[in-house]
């Protein structure tokens, strides 16, 4: 198979992030089961799967928000054992949330500055006495925050003093990414970064996600429903269903994979491409959210 050929050179390198038989039970429910996954430096890897498949749970396990029931998560060769969320950030992983979690009553700039928290050194005493180096650090932090915002174009820079709650949905997603970038991560985890966006905004998101890798040399793990996005930018795709990884491979392989089609469409489905694409698209974001809340 072609997949073997493609992956052969990678296995000689060390994966940036590696999941080994990661399992998470919520009471009786196995939300994630024996998931293995390896992400190599400067790859864009997508996780897809129906709603409730356990994708977000995988993110929560990686970023230390939930504790895994069993299994191992290894980052740069070192296990992320029971690291709490801020320690995970310190190791070089940053994430965004499916339901955007910004600090709504802080401005755009302040949100990004919070993301720089770990980079800045000022202790509580330094903050009170504010020696010259702290002043410099603050100025530098602001400059950097603005630089990060300008990654998404001048228009967020101009809105730096706006409270995030007054921004459009798409802009909020961008600010959340900027906040994640502010911690200078090596691996960026994006949970449905185009959810709730229209066609044009989605296209733009695809564009800047690719730029994140090409210009900032980031490795990206992505949860994404929209076929247009996943197929377009992923180097590899992993498919989750009922907490298990049922397939992994190149976008083209996934598109043709029997198990994946079954997972999405049930046995009766044909491999008709048209139906497929519709099916791979989730229900509209609004509905998905209402369902949970």
């Amino acid at each position: 198979m072609t997949a073997e050929h493609e992956q052969a050179p990678q296995s000689t390198r060390q994966p940036l992030l590696e999941l080994k038989k990661v399992t998470k039970h919520f009471g009786g429910l196995a939300a994630v089961q024996d998931v293995d996954l390896a992400i190599y430096p400067q790859e864009i890897v997508s996780i897809i799967g129906p709603n409730g498949a356990g994708k977000t749970t995988v993110f929560n396990l990686i970023t230390g928000i939930y504790l895994a029931t069993s299994g191992e998560i290894i980052f740069e060769g070192q296990p992320l054992k029971k690291a709490s969320p801020h320690q995970v950030v310190q190791r070089g992983l940053a994430r965004t949330f499916q339901n955007i979690r910004l600090f709504n009553n802080m401005t755009v700039l302040e949100n990004v500055l919070v993301g720089e928290h770990l980079r800045l050194k000022a202790s509580i005493l330094d903050a009170v006495f504010r020696p010259p180096w702290v002043k410099q650090e603050e100025e530098e932090a602001r400059r950097r925050a603005i630089e990060l915002l300008s990654f998404f174009g001048q228009h967020l820079v101009d809105r730096q003093d706006e409270y995030v709650i007054n921004l459009s949905y798409a802009d909020r997603r961008r600010v959340e990414i900027a906040r994640a970038l502010a911690s200078e991560p090596k691996l960026l985890l994006l949970d449905e970064p185009t959810a709730g966006m229209n066609e044009a905004e989605t296209m733009e998101a695809v564009h800047y996600i690719r730029r994140l890798r090409d210009e900032l040399h980031l490795t990206i793990l992505l949860i994404e429903h929209k076929l247009m996005v996943t197929m377009g930018i992923s180097d590899r795709i992993a498919v989750l269903d009922y907490g298990r990884k049922i397939a992994e491979g190149l976008p083209d392989e996934i598109r043709r994979d029997e198990r994946v089609i079954t997972a999405y469409l049930g046995k009766a489905a044909t491999a008709d491409r048209q139906t497929w694409q519709v099916a791979l698209r989730p229900q509209p974001e609004g509905e998905a959210n209402n369902h949970h809340e």
Binding site: I65, N105, H155, R159, D161
Partner: protein
Amino acid sequence: MAMLVPSQILPQTGETRRLLLKWVIAFLVPVLVFTLVWSGEAILNAALLAIFFPGSFSIAAIAAGLFMLLFYGIITGLTGYLVAADSGRQSLLDLWISMFFFTVVPILLIYITANLFVGLAASVVVWAFYYYGRRLVRRFRPPAPLPPLPSLKVLDAEMRATLLTRARLGSFWFALSFSLIWLLVDLLFYFTGQYGQASLVFLVWILLRSVLLPVAGWLLGSLGGLVAIRHAVPANGNGSNGDRAGAPVSTRRLRLLSATRAREEARDLVPNDLPLRSTGARNFYLLLLLALLVFYPMIDPFLFGPGTDSRLDNYGNAGYYVILALGLNIVVGFAGLLDLGYVAFFVIGAYTWAMVGSPQLTVLTGIHINPDIWPWLFWPMLIVAALIAALWGVLLGAPTLRLRGDYLAIVTLGFGEIIPIVVQNLDKYTNGTNGLTGIYSPAFFGVHWNVSTSEPYYYLILVLIAIVLLANLRLRDSRIGRAWIAMREDEIAAAASGINLTRTKLLAFAAGAFFSGIAGAYYAAKLSTVTSGNFSFSDSVIYLAMVVLGGLGSIPGVVVGALAVYAVNVLVLPQLDALGNDPSSIIYPIYTHILQVIPNFSFSNIRNLIFGIILVVLMIFRPEGLIPSTRRRHELHHTEAEGVEITSLDTPPGAPGFESEMRVE
């Protein structure tokens, strides 16, 4: 020269004339009322007496006179600034009416009641009616809504020159009219013989003053104009990259800000729709406030007559409430941790100095204390007391880390109860219910300092407040302050942004307790006695009321909140009782009537009821507090905003069992 001056001092355009009229009258009335009706002139005369008549030499009077000069100078400069900074959109009448209510009314009420706090409290009542009336009027004649940034424009060199000229004219005309009216009144008094045997010195002074004032006005106007120009959008001010903090925001960025936000930011700009609230004007207020605070002990006798010492004593007490409120604001306002046991740290701070700075130390350790040197120890012990309190803040905070909201409140409440009881029961060290007495006052170069001198304490607390205030402002705008606020907003997002929740919470507890410790040490030194029975849960509630009333998270807000609560609690209620028992007062009939129905009635007895009512009314009409932080005002007006639910967490993210607490998506 003679031909030149008139053309320069005459306003050229109709608009300038209107602005001059508007602001000169707005300030002339209160300043004249203060000068002629109350004590402005009296203070200056006393200063003159002190200078020219060696028999009545007094440094205090001279200092008071100096303050008056500062006062007139600042007001004159401010008038100039306002004329320059005004966009002219607020109507004349509107401004005059509100100036009347917010300056003339309190001046007169304070003068009549001869009591700062009672006068202010009465003013608050008048203001409430004024607001109510204004609302009624607006309901029938709603004012046209102002577009958010109607007059935002880049000023070129020519317009700047115009601003400067206007400011000069404003100050000049204000000073000129003021000096003329003052002159007329004084001459009238002189010729009707009401000055008695006024000496030549006074006549010379009156004439000199009348000439000097307009000249000073012209010069001060330039100052006001410079301040205005500093806040004008510069001609090349549209670069949005690398904006310096404090530099005016670029017009483009302002246009993109939402309406509310733009209005806030535009305060920094000239011309301004509400120049009285602009940043430039705020500089003048701060200067005035600073001068007032520093010179206060000297001018107090002129303002309120005898009894300065006891008044200063009261302010010295009010001061430590301010520090307590600022400290608690870090915990509750910034970090969002509801602490109902804040009094504990105050007790710890107080007992630290009480045990070290009193004969009790000899009792405990056998060390002989030299009472001349020992008081100097107050200064290092102030820090030590604060550090010990901070340590206890961490120790008591640690077990509560996993608690939030109601649970946290209950546990901290417990600590607030336990600490005074523990202190009481350690009677071997703390002398139990009898408390500790004979605690030393601090010592300082050239200051005669003991329990009965209130002036040194006044200045001490002023300095302490200034330091604590500065520390709070810096903390708020630092990496740590942002972490506190982020944590309050959304713990999960904060943790995922790299904030160590445990550490950040403990830092908040420690910082809050630190300031409480400072207040405690000051309290012990000032009172010279501490008794464990003096501290109780109701104190913690009072502190919380100060923070909530002033505006959670708002530094100026909690300062005002603390002063207001202290004033109502300690000054206004007893004063009302005193008035009620005084047959000549206006409330005497009502008071006696109530006493017939409810024996034992006194305002002090229903103190908690009054606080309850004030808080409830405030929460209904102004839940964000008296002077809210912009953030919080914003938050309370966006309650419908969607987004993730942010419930209180009892388990930190990443801990076992966190998932049953909250589902993160």
